[in-house]
Subunit: 244 residues, 2 copies
């Protein structure tokens, strides 16, 4: 015997996946519950630890589980629905929906616009910008990291404001600037090692990058935001309307 898995049997790691997927689907393993560790699975299914690991990593790729660095793997909660064509500020939206969204300011700084951001904001390269990076969490679980860049000239002393709230709301109340349009681009990519650390998850976790350019009533862009989401946590919706 030794090896040989019979005729066209599915690989052993795939059998483990199916087993765990079943436990997740039927509620045996509820949201945020700890999955069995690599070593436990290896022993239970009589496979090597590396094979157990492959199964667990596949569940992560599917979005059914997430890994916290050296703590274990856990069941992903239901996805958060975010309507990007009706909402510019998730923070404001969440607040009005009664969702407990927590914002932590990780860093804030003044920088000069690089070529890319200058083009997006329609300013000269080198234009002074305020930038701040914030971590969004809910119920103690990180959801995404956002870095926003705004034109410093237009929003003096912005960094002295309370950044633990919706930016659009802040810019409305403190600077009388009203967000009117948000142009969004969505891409899949893995989270970098440093982002993963902020999010409290393992590096290379599948993520979704969301870039948003916010403009006022006159169509002038004044804010560029870049979010990196834990991929398994989000479902983005939008509506297309064909003009005649």
């Amino acid at each position: 015997m030794s090896s040989s898995q019979g005729l066209a049997a599915s690989p052993r790691y795939r059998q483990i996946i199916d087993h765990l997927r079943g436990d997740i689907a039927d509620g045996t393993l509820p949201a945020h519950a700890a999955l069995p560790s690599e070593r436990v699975i290896a022993e239970a299914h009589n496979v090597s630890r590396m094979t157990a690991r492959r199964a667990l990593e596949a569940l992560e790729a599917e979005g059914l589980a997430y890994a916290e660095n050296r703590r274990g793997r856990f069941v992903s909660p239901p996805r958060l629905k975010y309507d990007i064509s009706r909402t510019i500020s998730l923070a404001a939206h969440a607040q009005s929906e009664g969702m407990r969204l927590n914002i932590e300011v990780l860093d804030s700084r003044e920088v000069a616009a690089d070529a890319r951001i200058a083009a997006l904001l329609q300013v000269q390269k080198g234009e002074p910008l305020f930038e701040y990076t914030r971590l969004f969490t809910s119920d103690g679980h990180a959801i995404f990291i956002e870095t926003e860049s705004i034109i410093a000239r237009r929003f003096p002393k912005m960094l002295e404001q309370d950044l633990q709230q919706s930016t659009t709301k802040l810019l409305e109340q403190a600077y009388n600037t009203h967000a009117r349009t948000g142009d969004i681009t969505i891409r899949m990519r893995a989270v970098h090692a440093d982002e993963a650390e902020c999010l409290g998850i393992a590096a290379n976790h599948p993520g979704i990058e969301l870039e948003q350019i916010i403009s006022d009533e006159s169509g002038m862009p004044f804010c560029v935001g870049n979010q990196i989401w834990r991929g398994e946590l989000a479902a983005f919706s939008a509506r297309a309307i064909l003009g005649h």
Copy 2:
């Protein structure tokens, strides 16, 4: 010596990633070029094959490379930009843009609506539907698989039509039904083994699932589409407009 990587040196697999990333960024490895194989990397960097593999898999997660089953790994091409708030039919859009988008019909069938799709299409469970699965490719490279479900009663003999074209265009010309809105939901998930085979890539490749509900001028939904994209190939854009 044997092991020991000095003080806080980055892991060896990460050094390999950086090396390959450099080659991709500076054009040494252009789009669709073959990356060095696991065994070649292992020998060149003097690491085990498994370590080389880890590096290559990380590049896939980043969206910089893709694997074709037992053929090798290749550099990802630039992302295809898809404006989901201005375009309902990618096929029609691509055609007008001069992009060579190829459509292959993989399967077509008549089925009864399950609970989920019945709810989306606002019909009774069990309502007869036409379903067809199509593979979209460009320049010989698979991009996504789409399965559309339409109400059979409303579009008689639909499956006898030429499905190698834009559906919205077909429904306009043959049934005088005009798509007006498309409600889209986007999620990250890995591609399943069967989907991966159609797409010509390895299983568990990171992907993006896009579900679209197409409705006519009266707001009545008549078509549900489900697309699974190779995650590294797409960038979806949309515009949010705040109504005061």
